[in-house]
């Protein structure tokens, strides 16, 4: 399983400047990866390029050993004419099972809400329901673009731990978030997009704590976590240095 981006550039037609130029990064093997950067730096666009919804203007993106890439984002909605439970039951892929679906519903704290229509749920519940339906699909790589943006922090940590536990060993999870702590805690590797008008060069790669459910409450990690957070924030702010390097 490998994704390798070499010098890819992209800009929207109506924009004055390209969003990013000649950026490179490499994802190798299954696991939980994160993309971190300040708003507007092109994280979602990069996710859409990886998922195949957008074509880079230049550069190459090679994907090996990954057939199904799914991209989920936080403003997605379920169809309104079904209850959440009916919809989820309908879209379970043959590879997943009803038991798996029930497990995620229970773990994500939605058991008491599946009889409701999607638009009757709170924002956080909507995020969770949307993520569940992706987890019961056939995928080799799941890109989660701020999918838990409206979920409270303890639930978010639990959900991420559950996802890692179930998919971290044989699938690629690519998580985009503004929450530096969860990114540092759960990721195997964090790709940091430096703040700049135009992102250039190789994305900064920082080793994460790659925590699991057990490690999550391990206070021994606290210092390492703080150090990683500082590294990520520094990398995200170091625009000039990054541009100079490229």
């Amino acid at each position: 399983m490998e994704i390798s981006a070499q010098n890819i550039s992209f800009g929207y037609r109506e924009a004055e400047y390209p969003l990013f130029e000649k950026i490179s990064f490499r994802i190798s093997g299954p696991g939980f990866y994160s993309l971190f950067g300040f708003s507007g730096c092109g994280k979602s666009t990069l996710a859409r390029i990886i998922a195949g919804f957008l074509e880079p203007a230049a550069g190459s993106l090679s994907i090996t050993g990954i057939k199904n890439i799914l991209l989920s984002y936080n403003t997605e909605r379920l169809p309104g004419w079904f209850s959440v439970g009916e919809h989820l039951a309908q879209v379970v892929s043959p590879r997943s099972s009803r038991g798996e679906l029930d497990y995620f519903i229970s773990e994500f704290g939605l058991s008491n809400y599946v009889h409701k229509k999607f638009f009757r749920l709170s924002m956080g519940q909507k995020n969770r329901a949307n993520l569940i339906r992706y987890l019961v699909q056939d995928f080799d790589m799941l890109i989660c673009d701020e999918v838990l943006a409206n979920v409270d922090e303890p639930s978010r940590n639990h959900i991420l731990a559950v996802i890692k536990e179930n998919f971290g060993k044989d699938r690629v999870l690519f998580y985009i978030s503004h929450n530096v702590e969860e990114v540092c805690l759960f990721s195997k590797k964090i790709f940091v997009v430096p703040a700049s008008d135009v992102t250039r060069g190789r994305l900064v790669e920082i080793e994460g704590l790659d925590a699991t459910k057990k490690h999550k409450e391990d206070h021994g990690n606290e210092k390492t976590l703080q150090t990683t957070i500082l590294k990520v924030l520094k990398a995200a702010s170091s625009a000039h240095k990054q541009e100079g390097e490229s």
């Binding site: 998922a51 799914l70 991209l71 989920s72 984002y73 403003t75 997605e76 909605r77 379920l78 169809p79 309104g80 004419w81 879209v91 892929s93 229509k117 638009f119 949307n130 339906r133 992706y134 699909q137």
Partner: protein, 245 residues
């Protein structure tokens, strides 16, 4: 409420007319007195109610046909193909044309029977429906469709289902609005050449300078239109309630 509003407006209009009559000293021949109008409305109700109901039925039929036709055309044209672009362009251009002007041609080719009235009612309310359906059917609801598209579940039926559900309010509004146009189309057809319906009764009353009869016709048409719109609004509310429950 709609019915009450109409009755209030009609009553106010009638009182203004009577005020003008007595204020300007117009003769009973020009503007009949209130008692003559009320007699016409209440004692000869059968002469107006039956043709009004006949007009209403034709309008409902024409409206239904227009909805079905617009839905089929919009469904076919939503794909973005060359044919769909031609249909869209034609629809946008044709809606600017006063289609009522072609009504005489319809009577020439199809005679003064039910078919002509039905067709004209359909033509008149068809274009607003088509434009609305075209907009709704061809505008993706990305936040809902994204998942289905990625997982290979977005077939034409699912696509339309999502788009219709997401735009239900807009669709109900345009269907209700176009119902009035269907009534207008039917009455215009009856004015022109038909031998049935309330438009035909108005035409006869016009030739006889019978203002009391014309006012009675207006009252009954208004009542029927209000009932038609009330029915559609009620239907829209039931559908929305069921889907949102």
């Amino acid at each position: 409420m709609r019915l009450f509003q109409f009755l209030m407006i009609f009553l106010i209009g009638l009182l203004i007319l009577e005020g003008v009559k007595y204020g300007a000293g117009f003769s009973d021949y020009l503007i009949p007195p209130l008692n003559e109008i009320t007699t016409m409305i209440f004692k000869k109700w059968r002469n107006f109610l039956m043709p009004s109901l006949n007009t209403l039925l034709v309008a409902i039929g024409g409206h239904f046909l227009a909805i079905v036709l617009a839905a089929i055309v919009a469904f076919t044209a939503r794909s973005g193909s060359v044919l769909s672009n031609i249909v869209k362009t034609a629809a946008y251009n044709l809606q600017a044309y006063p289609v009522v002007a072609i009504a005489p041609l319809v009577f020439i080719f199809l005679g003064d029977g039910l078919t002509s009235r039905l067709l004209i009612a359909t033509i008149i309310c068809y274009f607003p429906l088509l434009l609305n359906f075209l907009g709704v059917f061809s505008e993706p609801v990305l936040d809902v469709e994204h998942f289905f598209k990625q997982t290979g579940r977005l077939d034409s039926i699912m696509e339309i289902k999502i788009r219709v559900f997401e735009n239900l309010e807009k669709i109900v509004t345009v269907i209700t609005g176009s119902a009035t146009l269907a009534m207008v189309g039917t009455i215009v057809a009856e004015f022109l050449a038909a031998t049935m319906g309330i438009g035909y009764v108005i035409r006869k009353a016009l030739y006889q300078n019978n203002l009391a009869a014309i006012l009675s016709c207006l009252l009954y048409i208004g009542l029927c239109s209000s009932l038609f719109l009330l029915g559609l609004e009620w239907l829209g509310k039931i559908i929305k309630k069921r889907l949102m429950a």
